[in-house]
């Protein structure tokens, strides 16, 4: 068996690897989007009274 030949197992695993990859990309997109929304809404700003102290 030559190294260049794609084994049937690799073909079968491609779908699973692709699925896991897409899930990871989605997680990154969600965390990034959530951060953008939270920061732009000012969720992480300190309350005014704390700032004055």
């Amino acid at each position: 068996m030559s190294f260049g030949q794609q084994h049937e197992i690799h073909k079968r695993r491609f779908g699973r690897n692709l699925g896991v990859g897409l899930v990871l990309v989605a997680v990154i997109a969600i965390v990034f989007g959530l951060t953008v929304v939270k920061v732009t809404r000012g969720d992480y700003e300190a309350p005014r009274s704390e700032v004055q102290n």
């Binding site: 068996m1 084994h7 197992i9 079968r12 779908g15 699973r16 969600i30 989007g33 959530l34 929304v37």
Partner: protein, 313 residues
């Protein structure tokens, strides 16, 4: 036999991505997503669209984690029942340990991220829902008492309360009403299924009401719960989540549901055998429409209220 054929044999039954997805019980997840979405929109506090979207996603992931943990614990039962023997664990495509690991990881992920995205009341409710479904229902009640469906149904009833909590950060009478609607709907829904999937629960040794108290008692229970459910569902129409649209839907569907329950109650086993449980199957199908239509009507009322048209105001 070549090396290649040995490899093929060893990996023939290897899990695909779809098998891992099936562990999350996608059909149950669709109910979780829909009812949580309705709870979120029915709440009187607007939510940022992205926060709302990811919150529903995290609730779905938490629900999926419960499904995976349930499949891990119930693999022995699933292997016996016709309806469940092709699930990934009994079919040998995913190991029990893998399902446990996926369930625990997704549960932690869903709860923590829901807390970060919305608030910790919603996250706490999601954590309690997962605990209730896995520990109270799957591990404790399911194999022990015929009331398993009644009490365990609470787990499936929490999503609209979680959706409401995402928006408001708390619990309200309206969110408890939505919880109670699903809670009261679950027993007749599953008991109808148990009537026509007759040998499955017997074979698996699950103490369903049909097995422990008999099929006549199950028919009586279906009617009793349906009467209580109808009163509750129609009563909800007069609260702030209800309105003319909801009430119209509730009156029609509860009349049909009550008629279905009476039909089941009036039949005996010979009559059911004669037409292959036609009335029981019809009632089960109607129960699916029943829940989606009630929550759909709450959603319509919430949508109309954005234009000052929904509810009784």
């Amino acid at each position: 036999m070549t090396d290649t054929s040995i490899d093929n044999h060893a990996y023939e039954n290897e899990a695909q991505f779809g098998d891992y997805f099936a562990l999350l019980k996608p059909r149950v997840m669709s109910l979780v997503v829909f009812t949580a979405f309705v709870g979120l929109l029915a709440a009187p506090v607007p939510v940022h669209p992205f926060i709302g979207f990811v919150s529903i996603l995290f609730i779905a992931i938490g629900g999926g984690a419960s499904g995976a943990l349930n499949m891990w614990w119930d693999a022995d039962i699933d292997a016996v029942m016709k309806r469940t023997r092709n699930r990934p664990i009994p079919a040998g495509r995913v190991s029990g340990d893998t399902a446990l690991a996926i369930g625990v990881a997704l549960a932690a992920f869903g709860v923590i991220f829901l807390g970060l995205a919305s608030n910790w009341v919603a996250a706490g409710l999601l954590a309690f829902t997962i605990f209730f479904y896995v520990v109270i229902y799957s591990i404790w009640l399911k194999r022990w008492t015929p009331q398993n469906i009644v009490i365990g149904g609470a787990a499936g009833a929490f999503p609209p309360m979680i959706g409401w909590a995402v928006a408001t950060g708390g619990i309200a009478p309206e969110s408890i009403l939505m919880f109670t609607l699903i809670f009261m709907w679950t027993p007749p829904h599953f008991w109808a299924l148990a009537l026509f999937m007759r040998s499955d629960y017997d074979d698996a040794g699950v103490p369903m009401l049909t097995v422990t108290h008999g099929r006549r008692a199950t028919r009586n229970h279906i009617l009793g719960y349906t009467i209580l459910l109808a009163a509750l569902a129609i009563g909800t129409g007069f609260t702030s989540v209800g309105g003319p649209v909801y009430l119209s839907v509730a009156v029609v569907l509860n009349a049909l549901f009550l008629k279905g329950a009476v039909d089941i109650w009036r039949r005996d086993e010979d009559m059911s055998e004669a037409d292959n449980f036609a009335a029981e199957r019809k009632f089960f199908k109607l129960s699916l429409l029943y829940l989606f239509a009630h929550f759909g009507a709450i959603l319509i009322e919430a949508g109309l209220s954005r234009f000052g048209l929904g509810g009784w105001a």
